[in-house]
Amino acid sequence: MPDPAILLAGVLNGLLAGGIYVLVAVGLTLIYGVLHIINFAHGSLLMLAMYAVFYLWRLLGIDPYAALPMVIAGSFAFGFVLYRLLIGRYNHGRDENILLITLGVSIVVDNAALLFFGGDTQTIDVTYAGSFVELGAAFLPLPKIISFAASLLLCLILGLYMAKSDTGKAIRALARERQGARLVGIDVDKLFAVSYGIGIACLGAAACLLMPSYYVTPSSGHAFVLVAFTIVVLGGMGSFVGAAVGGFIIGITESLGGLILGEQLGQIGISLIFILILLLKPTGLFGGAR
C-alpha cells in the first residue's frame, strides 16, 4: 500500500483524467438515452475530431482551446448530417441495423483516416504543455487542469441547455416517451439527428481538450470507448448527472487501481465495476426505471 500522500495525488490524477472521460461518456449516454443505440462509431468520430484539432493547429496555427467553438460546431454538423444521410435513413426501424451501420461507419472512418492522414502519431506541442501546478505529491499538468475545468463547464452548459431550452426539453421528452413525443407533434427524426449531433459535439469538445496532452493516430479514439461505456453504465444509461459522476469515479478507480494493483491489473478494476454495477444495480447510480 503506497503512502497517503501518493494516494491523494492518485486521486487528483484520477479526477483530472475523469474530466475527459466525462465528455466522451456524456455524448455516448445522450445518444443511448435518446436513440437507444450503442454508437459503435464513437471512438472513430472522436479520432476524426482529434485530427481536426491537430490540423487546425498545424495548418492554421489555431490553439486547441481556441478551436473549441469551431470543432464543437463542426462535430455537431458532422453528427447531424451523418444521422440524417445514413443512420436515420437506412436503419429501417431496427436497432441492430443501426449497430451495423455505426460499425460500418467506424471501419470506413478509421481507414479513410489512415489513407488521408497516414498512420503515424501526431502530437500538438503547445508552450503551456510543460506547465504544472504542484499540489502535495501531485504535479498536475496545466493542460489537464484546463481540460478538467472546461469539461465541467461544458457539461454544465449542456445540462442547462437540456433542462431549459425547448430543444433540450423535447429531447428529454423523446428519451422518455418515444410514441408520446411522436403523438404530440414533435419532429422525432430531426430530434434524433440533433441528439446524435450533440453527442458527437461532445466528442469534438473532448478532442480539443485531449490534444494538448494526448496524441492522435487513426486508431487512437478507441482507447476511450470501453471506459466511456463503463461510465455510462455506472451512471445509468441515458443519465447526464450519472455520466458526470461516473466519469470521476472511474477516473479515480483507474488511478488508485493502477497505484495499488499495478497498472495492468488495475484496468481490471474498471471492468469489474462495470460488471458489478450491471449485476447489482443495472439502472446505474442515477438511472431511472428501465
Binding site: 497516414g118 502530437t123 499538468p141 489537464k144 486508431s219 497505484l259 497498472e263
Partner: protein, 409 residues
C-alpha cells in the same frame, strides 16, 4: 505449383489443371517475357490497423530495396532477373497474415519478408514452412520466432535477448564511467509479448551491473494516461527509468515523465518504440538525453546516409522498420545471387550459409544459427539537441554519451 508431401495423385492432377484456370480468372498474369522470370518476394506487413504506421514504414523500405536491386541490374547470376514485390496486408490479424502467405504461394513467391507483429510472424512463417519457402523476419521481437526449429525462418536483426544483453553492457559501462551513480531502476513495459519478455530479462540481468530493479510496471496498449505511473516512479525514486514499449506509449510516457519532472540520472529504453527522428525533432526538450538500445543504422555508412536522405526527401521518416526491411531484401538478393536460382531448397541453403555484409547496419558478419543471425546487434543511442547520436558500440559511435544527465531545475 509446389504441392506438399503425400497427396493423392488425382488431386495433384486437378490442381495442376485448375491452377492455370485459377491464374486466368484470378488475374495473376503469368510472366512471359524475353528476360528471365522475375523473382517474386512476398512482403506481408500490417499496413492497416493499430500498427499501420510501422507496417507502412517496412513496406516503404522493402519496395525501395527492390527498386535498388533492380536498378543495379537484378540478380546477375540469374541472368539479371528482376525482383518483384508482392505487397500483402496482414491487417494485424493472424488469419489474414496466413491467408496472404497462401495467396502469395499460389503466385509463386521465392521468399517472404514480414510481419512486424510477432504473433502474425509466428503463424505466417509456420504456414510458409509447409512449402519450404524461406521467411525473413524483418521486424518481430519474439524469440519464439526462431526457437521452433523451422528451417525456413531467418532473422537478421537481433532478438530482444541480445538487445537486453547489449543494453546491459552499455549501461554498465556508462554507469561505471560515471562512478556508479545509478543503483536502482524502475522498468516500465507494455504488457504484451515483447515488453513483458524484455522486462523480465532486464530485471534478471541488472544486478550483474550492480543495479537493482525496484519494480516492474506493466501497462496496457493503449494506455490513456501515464500520470500515475509517473507518480509511482517519483515515489520509488529510482536512479534510472528503463522502458520497453511501442511508439505511442513510449512517446506519451516520455512526455509525461518530463511534464511530471521525474528527476533521474537517465532514461534508458530497450527497443523503445517511439525513439525516432520525429520524436526528437518535435519534442526536443522531452527527448533530450534519453537513451535507447535499438535497431539502428550505421551512421558511418555512406550508403545508409544516402538512403536516409532519400527517405527523408520523400517526406518520410528514416525509422528502423525502413532500413531493416531494406536490409532484408538485400540479404535475400545476396542469397539469390549466390544460389543462382530461386529454387526454395537452394535459396534456403544459401541463406543458411550466408555471410552477407549488412552494409547499412552496425552488424558483424552474418552467421545464422537456427535461423537467428549471430552477428546482429543493436546500437545504443542518445537524443542530443534534437538529433539522435549513436553512443555505442564504439566503432560506430557518432557522439559521446551524457550520463548522468543534468538534473532538472
Amino acid at each position: 505449383m509446389t504441392s506438399q508431401g503425400k497427396f493423392p495423385v488425382s488431386r495433384r492432377g486437378f490442381v495442376a489443371g485448375s491452377s492455370a484456370l485459377a491464374a486466368g480468372t484470378l488475374g495473376f498474369p503469368a510472366v512471359l517475357r524475353a528476360q528471365p522470370a522475375a523473382v517474386k518476394v512476398g512482403m506481408i506487413h500490417p499496413v492497416t490497423g493499430f500498427v499501420a504506421y510501422n507496417g507502412q514504414q517496412s513496406r516503404l523500405g522493402g519496395t525501395m530495396a527492390v527498386e535498388d536491386v533492380n536498378k543495379a541490374g537484378g540478380i546477375k547470376s540469374m541472368g539479371g532477373a528482376k525482383l518483384e514485390a508482392l505487397l500483402g496486408d496482414s491487417q494485424s490479424k493472424v488469419e489474414v497474415g496466413v491467408s496472404e502467405v497462401e495467396k502469395m504461394n499460389e503466385q509463386g513467391v521465392a521468399a517472404y519478408i514480414g510481419c512486424y507483429q510477432s504473433p502474425v510472424g509466428i503463424a505466417a512463417s509456420q504456414a510458409a514452412a509447409k512449402y519450404n519457402t524461406p521467411f525473413l523476419i524483418d521486424v518481430g521481437a519474439s524469440d519464439l520466432l526462431v526457437s521452433r526449429g523451422l528451417k525456413n525462418v531467418f532473422r537478421l536483426k537481433p532478438g530482444f535477448g541480445v538487445c537486453v544483453d547489449d543494453g546491459i553492457a552499455s549501461l554498465g559501462a556508462l554507469n561505471k564511467a560515471a562512478g556508479g551513480v545509478a543503483k536502482t531502476a524502475v522498468i516500465v513495459h507494455e504488457s504484451g509479448e515483447f515488453g513483458t519478455g524484455t522486462a523480465k530479462l532486464l530485471a534478471g540481468k541488472l544486478p550483474s551491473i550492480d543495479i537493482q530493479a525496484k519494480e516492474l510496471i506493466a501497462h496496457d496498449n493503449p494506455t490513456r494516461n501515464f500520470d500515475n505511473i509517473a507518480l509511482r516512479i517519483r515515489s520509488l525514486a529510482p536512479d534510472i527509468v528503463m522502458m520497453s514499449n511501442y511508439g505511442n506509449e513510449y512517446m506519451l510516457l516520455a512526455r509525461t515523465l518530463y511534464q511530471q519532472k521525474v528527476n533521474v540520472a537517465g532514461f534508458f529504453s530497450i527497443l523503445g518504440g517511439g525513439f525516432n527522428y520525429k520524436f526528437v525533432k518535435e519534442m526536443p526538450d522531452v527527448a533530450q538525453y534519453m537513451m535507447d538500445v535499438n535497431h539502428w543504422f550505421n551512421p558511418r555508412s555512406a550508403q545508409a546516409q544516402a538512403l536516409k536522405k532519400r527517405v527523408e526527401d520523400g517526406g518520410a521518416l528514416f525509422t528502423f522498420e525502413v532500413y531493416l526491411t531494406y536490409t532484408n531484401v538485400m540479404l535475400l538478393a545476396d542469397s539469390l545471387e549466390r544460389a543462382g536460382t530461386a529454387d526454395k531448397e537452394k535459396l534456403t541453403a544459401a541463406l543458411a550459409s550466408s555471410t552477407f555484409k549488412a552494409e547499412l547496419m552496425p552488424y558483424g558478419p552474418t552467421r545464422f544459427v537456427n535461423g537467428q543471425n549471430q552477428g546482429g546487434r543493436p546500437a545504443t543511442m542518445q537524443a542530443l539537441k534534437g538529433d539522435i547520436e549513436v553512443i555505442a558500440p564504439a566503432e560506430f559511435a557518432s557522439a559521446k554519451a551524457v550520463f548522468p544527465k543534468p538534473k532538472l531545475n
